[in-house]
């Protein structure tokens, strides 16, 4: 509450701020705690000068734990990324871990595949999720249906991956049978060929997380001003026109949040891909986090892994900054 201001209740016009009467400036504590000549004494029992120390004390345990599991590892990661790290051996290697990366095709491909994977997931999830929300909104069975849609989200991604691996199986998988019967797929499983494996893992993510987009959109739809829609309709706008010019712009902020959240999660979680394809066939689904997992915990090249992890982390942090900014715009509430 640094710059509270009292404004006249004049409805502000577009672009022009409302008329400001007073501006209350924030007075730093150091000023407050000085003996003042004012007649009325500060009620010292409520805000004694030492109160900040009390709050910092409450904060300390959480901050200390976080520092131990976040800052300390971060510096360790930088240290590791500059060394050859093996069991019982840590050797400086003149940035070799980083210098090798640009010529590492799997690293470059990892980024490309990560972007491709995220884009495919997001596109399908947004299209299906928003349509589903519009279809569900105000339906008689909305509550029951939404509860049903929640089920995949509660599932461990690993278990989801296992179940889908079973369904996709080329000899006894029901989904494989279905795809074959519909004439979409030959006898080869969807995960077994490099052309279709990416679609296979995308479908699992779509299955598990489209409902989240639907839920977010439903929450957004409840806030679309009904009177605008009705006024438009009275003026003769078609439902499609109404959706495009009133509903969608109102959904835009929540959709942005949904997109950012799913995008980050595609960076964060790889459990189901590890089970479904392990990055294969060939390297067709080796998105960067999967490659990183392989380098670090299959071949135990922890130094190299740390270098990749560092770059991945930096990119995520930049994305996170954008995300936080989007969040703050979504919530005009001060905090």
């Amino acid at each position: 509450m640094t710059n509270a201001s009292i404004t006249l209740a004049v409805p502000s016009q577009k672009g022009r701020p409302a008329l400001e009467l007073f501006r209350v400036r924030h007075i730093p504590d150091s000023v407050e705690s000085r003996p003042s000549s004012a007649v009325v004494a500060e009620p010292t029992s409520i805000n004694p000068p030492g109160s900040k120390r009390y709050y910092f004390l409450l904060m300390a345990p959480a901050i200390l734990v976080l520092a131990f599991i976040s800052i300390y590892p971060f510096f360790w990661m930088i240290y590791m990324s500059l060394h050859d790290v093996d069991i019982g051996k840590v050797e400086w290697n003149n940035f070799a871990n980083y210098l090798k990366l640009p010529s590492d095709t799997r690293f470059i491909m990892g980024w490309a595949l990560l972007v491709q994977y995220s884009a495919m997931c997001l596109f399908l999830q947004i299209v299906i999720g928003v349509f589903l929300a519009v279809a569900l909104n105000g339906s008689r069975f909305e509550k029951v249906l939404v509860t049903t849609l929640l089920m995949p989200m509660m599932m461990a991604p690993l278990v989801a991956g296992m179940v889908w691996y079973f369904l996709y199986n080329g000899t006894f998988g029901w989904y494989h049978w279905l795809l074959q019967s519909l004439g979409i797929l030959g006898p080869k499983s969807i995960l077994a060929s490099a052309n279709t494996a990416m679609i296979g893992i995308v479908l699992v993510d779509v299955w598990q997380w489209t409902p989240l987009i639907t839920l977010i959109t439903l929450a957004g739809l409840k806030r679309v001003p009904q009177d605008q829609l009705e006024a438009n309709m009275v003026d003769g706008a078609s439902p499609v026109r109404n959706f495009m010019s009133v509903t969608l712009p109102n959904l835009y902020p929540v959709l942005l949040i949904a997109i950012m959240l799913r995008f980050m999660d595609n960076f964060r979680f790889t459990d189901s891909i590890l089970v479904l394809t392990g990055g294969g066939p060939g390297n067709a689904t080796k998105i960067l986090p999967v490659y990183l997992f392989e380098v670090s915990f299959k071949f135990f090249k922890l130094g190299r892994g740390a270098a990749i992890a560092f770059i991945l982390l930096i990119v995520t942090i930049i994305l996170g900054m954008l995300l936080v900014r989007v969040f703050e715009r979504g919530q005009p509430k001060k905090g």
Binding site: S45, Y54, T148, A219, Q226, I257
Partner: protein, 292 residues
């Protein structure tokens, strides 16, 4: 359902849309439920029966899916011979432990962050949230090294600490929003009546209790469903349900019946918990950005 007058026009187009929407919803519900249903059914089938498929294109043959004699042997096998009771216990302790640690420390921190202002608060806040956003694999590389030096790999305390890396920032971020909604005047009134600051803090806790409860559950859910940390940090002595389920995949011989049974054991409690905290679910899953 709140009753509300909405102008509705029955035109040919909107009728067609409604029919299409209904069909779409029906399809989508089937698509959502089917994998879970097949998992559930397969966990009660003998392996040979679970593998039965009709000929390609033989749509009437789908009925073989329902032709089986139910058996609970996979569940029996899991708990009697494969030590899943230990893994269930590990999962409970690791998820519950990290949830409690995160929410207790997190609520103290969130409360303070909500009540005071200081230079660098925004940076601190951003640091907290970026810890949560970090890719699990990237965090794990240095964490694994540190934990190995401290001999925390393969222990439950190690796993609890690992889960705290994403649960604690989550708890702080979400709970701060809750404390922001509690007016400071309530504590002020308490303190005017002679309560100490700590007593005032305790006095407002009941106001946020439902939220705190819901987020304990969400933290449990996140930790319970994790696989990567469990596979690497917990490997050996602290195997949780997902990690143990993964290990049922042997190169020569995949125990599908047991895998499906383990999937049901892992999934059912979380679905139940999800229903319990339904009201807070969207808020939690969107990190507080969307409220229903």
């Amino acid at each position: 359902m709140a009753s509300r007058e909405v102008i509705e026009y029955e035109t040919g187009v909107s009728k067609a849309f409604n029919v299409f929407a209904a069909v779409f919803i029906a399809f989508y519900v089937v698509w959502t439920v089917l994998p879970i249903f097949i998992m559930f059914m397969s966990s009660f089938k003998d392996l040979l029966e679970a593998f039965k498929l009709p000929e390609v294109g033989d749509w009437a043959g789908v009925k073989v899916f329902f032709e089986f004699t139910p058996t609970t042997k996979h569940y029996y096998e899991l708990f009697a011979n494969l030590g899943f009771s230990t893994y269930l216990f590990n999962s409970l302790v690791a998820a519950g432990g990290s949830a409690v640690v995160s929410v207790v420390l997190g609520s103290m921190c969130a409360y303070s962050l909500s009540r005071i202002d200081f230079r660098g608060k925004k940076d601190l806040f951003f640091w907290i949230i970026s810890t949560r956003m970090a890719p699990v694999v990237a965090v794990m590389v240095p964490l694994y090294w540190i934990f190995r030096e401290l001999e925390l790999v393969g222990t439950l305390p190690g796993l609890i600490l690992a889960y705290t890396t994403f649960n604690l920032p989550f708890a702080i971020w979400i709970l701060k929003g809750f404390f922001d909604n509690v007016p400071y005047a309530i504590e002020e009134a308490q303190m005017v009546d002679g309560a100490t600051r700590l007593q005032a803090f305790r006095a407002i806790l009941p106001l946020v209790a439902p939220g705190i409860g819901a987020f304990v559950v969400l933290c449990i859910l996140f930790a319970w469903n994790d696989y990567l940390f469990a596979a690497i940090i917990g490997s050996g002595g602290a195997k949780t349900l997902p990690a143990a389920t993964r290990e049922l995949v042997q190169p020569q011989n995949i125990q599908w019946g047991q895998i499906m049974a383990a999937g049901v054991v892992t999934t059912l409690p979380m679905m139940f918990l999800g229903l319990v905290i339904r009201k807070y679910l969207v808020t939690g899953l969107t990190m507080g950005a969307v409220k229903e």
